[in-house]
């Protein structure tokens, strides 16, 4: 569909875009940002529901064990900085550095998920016991799902980086997208941690 000679002359006249993707201007980062706006609104909806319950229902909140979640928070927040080192590495054409830092990020993400599983296993209440329990599992579970997606995203970048020249200083959309997604998951966790555990 996009193969004829006319097409190349057409696109040649288009505004020069900073990056190219299959001979076309690359709009994928712009699209990803819009997607994350939508994702943010799902979490906003869930947080809003949580806040309404909290402000209208008497003795809604329950005590939560804070040790594991706090360690988890520190791991997840610092993994964002680790990941950024990976992105800086690939900008300098350093694939080994990308693999190292993304590898550590993936490990940290896995530890976070492991911590969450441990926390669930030792929880004093179940999903249907009371409204706070339902909210707790719905919010942290939905976030955990996003961490899993981000982890898979990171592993996919690692997998692809094995092919020589797949990522370079000039072309590394996958790296940047994975990083942006991870930051998003991270920021959502900070809000979630504040609302559910600390408030």
């Amino acid at each position: 569909m996009q193969s004829s000679t006319t097409n190349t002359t057409v696109t040649a006249n288009y505004q020069a875009a900073p990056t190219e993707h299959h001979g076309h201007p690359d709009h994928r980062m712009f699209g990803l940002v819009l997607f994350l706006v939508a994702e943010t609104m799902i979490f906003a909806g869930l947080f809003a529901a949580f806040l309404i319950y909290k402000s209208t229902i008497a003795d809604f909140s329950k005590e939560l064990e804070l040790t594991i979640p706090t360690i988890n928070t520190i791991i997840l927040v610092s993994s964002s900085f680790v990941m950024h080192k990976g992105q800086s590495a690939i900008k300098n054409d350093d694939v080994k550095g990308l693999q190292l830092w993304f590898g550590i990020t993936a490990l940290m993400g896995a530890v976070f998920l492991g911590g969450q599983v441990y926390e669930y296993a030792h929880m004093e209440f179940g999903l249907t016991e009371h409204l706070f329990g339902s909210c707790f599992y719905a919010l942290t579970g939905f976030h955990g799902l996003h961490v899993t997606a981000g982890l898979l995203f990171t592993l996919a970048v690692l997998w692809r980086s094995r092919a020589a020249g797949h990522y370079s200083g000039a072309s590394h959309f996958g790296v940047e997208a994975a990083e942006l997604y991870w930051h998003f998951v991270d920021v959502v966790w900070i809000v979630l941690f504040g609302l559910v555990y600390l408030l």
Binding site: M1, H27, V37, A38, A49, I52, S134
Partner: protein
């Protein structure tokens, strides 16, 4: 012209329309045909509802089946007809209007389309397990006790269609911002693109909140939680807040694209520049913003405290300001124009008059004291059908007639098109106008049996709805006759100025043989022209462009 440019849209095989094709024009037509398919299903359900209501007794279907009918009618008409129909025109027109060769993400576009049939089949299949009965709003706790599997299929369908809608919006915004030809700045962009920008912003900000509500509702239904179930300590009002945070903006998601359509159709067929280009463009964005902060006007009777009612009453009434700006600008566009009263313009004028009534009854409903009086009565049913049928559907038909020559390369049959308009207009007003009286007198909505005093007006409604149903016949005749023996349309039968008319009809696979030339604003009829009719010079300019090419 080079060899490669001789592939025209006509070269598309009919089988292409059943494949995972990434061409935005194919996807646009796929959307359009699919949505019309569901329109006929949703319409058939509506006729069954009206047939039941022709008499006060539940003698046509049982009350349970009646509940399923109106629930499915509402859901299908909103999520499988009018929202995808807006996406249909956006997909077909946006790249053509801005001189691009496709959408920003063609494969994502095809994915979003193919979610429509999947969601539609899921929803329709719920009839086999007991269709949902809780109305299109699915308020808990009713939705939690009125049939588990039908309700769950309803939730799944909406999650799929909502995702498709979000993916589409990402595509529209990226395409509009990033793929305009260099000389087209954002203020020389056709107003339809502005309308889709406002629509997409709403979709991105509100649809995910519905997803959040549906996920929690699904938990209540399937996992035994009690987010919205008062017997377990939950709060049904929270569902209403989340639901209407999407579903009020959703009415603008349904109507804003068609505001865009009207802004395209009126100047072309009245040969006048659009009145107040920037006012129309920015008022769309204003409607989007206000649309996000008015949702609780659906909840005036849900125990909402007075101070909150005041806020939502005031903001709701404010929506009338940008909408009024649009209506007056459209009227000013028509004023003193050389009107070509073809089917496209007739439907556009039908839109103006019907939507005006819907808008005015909307301001009435915004007033909390009046709303409390007519809440959940047929007044509300009449109001939203004037907005959605009189607004969106009339404009949609206008769009179909206006762009039919571009999509098919043929002219539709004008006689049958005008008959279609006459029957639609009469049937529509006969069906929905009496509902306002019924509501004021206290007839509840969502009931299969009613007080006999309401019978005569209900029969008027029912007869009107039959006329409305029959009006689809001349529509189909006009479309098919056009395809079979319509005369060739040529590039620009309406002598319009927007870019989609600069290419062949139907457009070649790559849209434009060369980068289109922007030599006038989209609505500069009669400007910078010696002759009285700007259309003359348009033809000359087009001929020049073709020769140079």
């Amino acid at each position: 012209m080079s060899e490669a440019t001789t592939h025209h849209g006509g070269d598309r095989k009919w089988t292409d329309y059943f494949t995972f094709c990434t061409d935005h024009k194919v996807i646009g037509i796929q959307y359009l045909v699919t949505s019309f398919f569901f329109y006929f299903i949703g319409g058939a359900l509506a006729e069954m509802v009206r047939t039941e209501l022709a008499t006060p007794d539940p003698d046509f279907v049982s009350p349970e089946v009646y509940n399923q009918l109106f629930t499915m009618h509402g859901t299908i008409m909103i999520f499988l007809w009018i929202v995808p129909a807006g996406a249909a025109f956006a997909n077909y027109l946006i790249p053509l209007m801005i001189g691009a060769d496709d959408m920003a993400f063609p494969r994502l576009n095809a994915v979003a389309f193919w979610m429509q049939p999947v969601g539609g089949i899921l929803l329709i299949s719920s009839f086999f397990v007991g269709a949902p009965q809780a109305g299109w709003t699915s308020y808990p706790p009713l939705s939690l006790i009125s049939g588990k599997w039908g309700e769950e299929l309803w939730i799944l369908c909406l999650l799929i269609l909502g995702t498709a809608s979000i993916l589409g919006a990402i595509n529209f915004v990226t395409t509009i911002f990033k793929m305009r030809i260099p000389e087209m700045d954002i203020h020389s962009m056709p107003l339809f693109c502005w309308a889709m920008l406002a629509t997409s912003a709403l979709i991105l900000l509100s649809t995910p909140v519905l997803a959040a509500a549906l996920i929690l509702l699904s938990f209540d239904l399937m996992a035994g939680t009690a987010f919205f179930n008062p017997t377990g300590g939950g709060d049904p009002i929270v569902y209403q807040h989340l639901f209407w945070f999407y579903s009020h903006p959703a009415v603008y998601i349904m109507v804003l694209p068609f505001f865009g359509v009207i802004s395209e159709v009126l100047p072309v067929h009245s040969r006048k520049p659009i009145f107040g280009y920037r006012a129309i463009a920015y008022s769309g964005l204003a409607i989007s913003f206000l649309g996000l902060i008015v949702w609780a006007h659906h909840m005036f009777t849900s125990g909402t405290p007075g101070w909150l009612r005041m806020f939502f009453m005031a903001t709701t009434m404010l929506v009338a300001v940008p909408t009024g700006i649009k209506i007056f600008s459209w009227c000013a566009t028509l004023w003193g124009g050389k009107l070509q009263l073809n089917s496209a313009l007739l439907f556009a004028i039908g839109f103006l008059s019907s939507f005006l009534i819907g808008g005015l009854s909307g301001v009435m409903l915004a007033a909390a004291p009046f709303d409390i009086h007519v809440h959940d009565t047929y007044f509300v049913v009449g109001h939203f059908h004037y907005v959605l049928f009189g607004g969106s559907v009339f404009a949609l038909f206008s769009a179909v007639y206006h762009w039919y020559p571009k999509m098919t390369g043929k002219m539709y049959d004008e006689f049958w098109g005008k008959l279609h308009f006459a029957m639609t207009f009469v049937g529509f007003n006969m069906t929905f106008l009496p509902m306002h009286y019924l509501g004021m007198q206290g007839m509840n909505r969502r009931i299969a049996l009613y007080d006999p005093q309401f019978q005569s007006l209900n029969q008027v409604c029912t007869i009107g709805s039959y006329i409305l149903a029959l009006s689809t016949l001349p529509f189909l005749v006009s479309m098919v006759l056009g395809l079979v023996k319509g005369e060739a349309a040529g590039r620009n039968p309406w002598r319009a100025l927007t870019l989609e008319w600069q290419t062949t009809s139907p457009p070649s696979i790559e849209n434009f043989d060369e980068v289109p030339v922007l030599w006038a604003g989209p609505y500069d009829y009669g400007i910078d022209s010696e002759s009285e009719d700007a259309g003359e010079s348009v033809e000359e300019m087009l001929a020049e462009v073709a020769e140079v090419g």
